[in-house]
């Protein structure tokens, strides 16, 4: 037996058509306004897209909390780091004078900067919290130059959507979207609590991304590339994190 009323037939048909059209439009608009993360596919893609999309929709320009100097942690926790390679130790012995940051990709003026070059740029300091996905946290003062300064100096070409940055070890790399990269608190950090940034905390150069969890704040940064798509890097999921099962967007 099949049971059909004319009203049900018409409403179901219209609702289905509207739903399909609505979803297609929503997906297109979401992509256009940067609301879809690279790891949007798979079982957890829906949740991840909602989290990232909601943040970018409602809090794209929000500032991470900053704290009074009195709240700086006395004993911050450096977390484990891989033992430095010989080349790194040699550079450390010379005070990192030959540390270089390469800026390339979709920029007008690709460049290579030493730490001394970076220190000539406008200095910014912020007292923000490092929050690890494990649950622990600490507060420190971070001193450096906003990434936006370097990107503006290099001159971004139109169409840049992500900034791809990697560490002295090639297996450590990350990407952030252009909003996060140009955010005033996203900091190429060289100093911590009024001293040089210790190696344990990512010295000589760490990219602090205070609106996201600690794992986005990559240590030992040597290379920054402006790109329009993450598809051709690694497995195309935006960073090594989704490849190990972790979310690309770590704002929560």
């Amino acid at each position: 037996m099949s049971l059909i009323t004319r009203r049900r037939l018409i409403t179901t048909g219209l609702a289905t058509a509207a739903g399909v059209a609505g979803l297609a439009t929503a997906a297109k608009l979401s992509r256009k306004y940067g609301l879809v993360p690279p790891d949007c596919k798979g079982v957890y893609g829906a949740g991840e897209t909602l989290t990232y999309g909601a943040e970018r929709l409602f809090a794209r320009h929000a500032m991470a909390r900053e704290f009074p100097r009195s709240m700086i942690s006395e004993k911050p926790f450096a977390n484990e780091i891989a033992p430095p390679k010989e080349a790194f130790k040699k550079m450390q012995a010379r005070g990192f004078v030959d540390w270089r940051l390469t800026v390339d990709g979709m920029v007008e003026h690709p460049m290579t900067l030493s730490l001394a070059d970076l220190k000539t740029m406008p200095v910014h300091s912020q007292i923000t919290e490092v929050s690890c996905e494990e649950g622990w946290s600490y507060i420190a003062e971070w001193i450096g130059t906003p990434l936006s300064n370097v990107l503006n100096e290099a001159g971004l070409k139109p169409g840049v959507k992500y900034i791809y940055y990697h560490a002295v070890e090639p297996y450590l790399w990350e990407t952030i979207d252009i909003d996060e990269a140009m955010h005033p608190q996203t900091l190429l950090t060289m100093g911590m609590n009024n001293g040089d940034l210790p190696v344990g905390f990512g010295g000589p150069l760490r990219l602090r991304v205070p609106r996201q969890l600690g794992y986005k704040s990559l240590k030992f940064v040597t290379h920054i590339t402006a790109i329009d798509s993450v598809k051709n890097i690694g497995k195309g999921l935006g960073s090594v994190d989704p490849e190990y099962g972790y979310a690309w967007y770590a704002g929560i």
Binding site: M1, S2, L3, I4, T5, R6, Y44, A46, G47, E48, L50, T51, E55, F58, A59, A62, M63, A64, R65, F67, M71, S73, K75, P76, F77, N79, E80, E129, S131, C132, E133, E134, G135, W136, S137, Y138, I139, P210, R211, Q212, L213, D241, Y244, G245, Y246, A247, G251, I252
Partner: protein, 290 residues
């Protein structure tokens, strides 16, 4: 099928034919027009008024309650399993804004951790499951949020909260709560009235779970997000900092687990399958079954 409906069709003499009795209940509201397909032809039929016998068995819970209840079950199980999995990576708890292995904890869970940087006293490290646990935790949190919004909006509009959850007039006080508690302690049978409606203890418990525990656990969860607290700093400082939010989030989890255990035990005592039927296909026991 036509044969089963035949007693209600009323013959071709009376046009249009009408459906009556039991089968009509499944076919729509009384007075509604339906098309019945039989051997490649369509017959217009009109659903008859329901018989008084069927009218008595109204659903114990509204469809929205039943659907949102089970969506909440799915979300809650996913959130609890993944939440405890995430806790294992750092089974230490703190008060205030910050806390890490260099800070004295408020308390520590006597379990091994899934990270070797945490001193637990155990010689082994548990497998790290944080990746998928965090993905699923937030996905389930979205499901819970949408379910809560749908249920909350419907509950306000339909009068569900006022009618079914706010204690009835005359039972809004400690005296009524104490009276019903004594009844539980004496293990007296619940009586007919409670077959169709909640007693004062149930109402207060559901109100606390729905309007205190769930909102607080969402709040303390969001108070741990560096991005969310950036947009809404008050979520963190109102509860006393990020680590306090994490510790409260953990306590609230146990409060909800305690509720779940009592809830399921009470259902098992009062008739597990009957209650399951009430929360799924919706029918309560009829008058004559009681």
């Amino acid at each position: 099928m036509i044969k089963r409906l035949a007693p209600g069709l009323g013959g071709w003499g009376s046009w249009p034919p009408t459906l009556t009795a039991q089968n009509a209940v499944r076919m729509g509201r009384p007075g509604r027009w339906l098309c019945l397909r039989h051997t490649s032809s369509w017959y217009p039929l009109r659903v008859a008024t329901l018989s008084p016998v069927r009218q008595k068995t109204s659903p114990r819970h509204a469809a929205v309650v039943r659907v949102t209840h089970w969506l909440t079950v799915v979300a809650f199980v996913a959130l609890t399993v993944t939440g405890l999995e995430i806790v294992i990576s750092h089974p230490r708890f703190y008060w205030g804004e910050v806390g890490n292995v260099n800070v004295k904890p408020a308390f520590t869970l006597p379990i091994p951790a899934s990270r070797d940087t945490v001193p637990t006293g155990y010689k082994y490290v548990m497998p790290d499951q944080n990746g998928w646990s965090r993905y699923l935790h937030f996905e389930a949190a979205w499901l819970l949020l949408f379910t809560a919004l749908a249920y909350g909006a419907w509950g306000l509009v339909s009068g569900h909260f006022k009618r079914n959850l706010v204690p009835v007039r005359g039972e809004r006080g400690w005296r009524a709560i104490w009276a019903r508690t004594r009844k539980y302690l004496r293990r007296s049978p619940p009586g007919r009235q409670e077959e169709k409606s909640y007693n004062v203890l149930q109402r207060v418990t559901y109100l606390v779970v729905i309007f205190v525990l769930f909102p607080l656990i969402m709040w303390t969860g969001l108070a741990m997000s560096p991005s969310f607290t950036g947009a809404f700093p008050a979520t963190a400082w109102l509860v006393g900092g990020r680590q306090t939010a994490r510790t409260l989030h953990f306590f609230l989890t146990w409060a909800l687990i305690a509720f779940l255990v009592v809830h399921v035990v009470m259902i098992a005592i009062s008739g597990f399958w009957r209650r399951m039927r009430a929360m799924t296909i919706g029918r309560a026991r009829t008058e004559d079954e009681l």
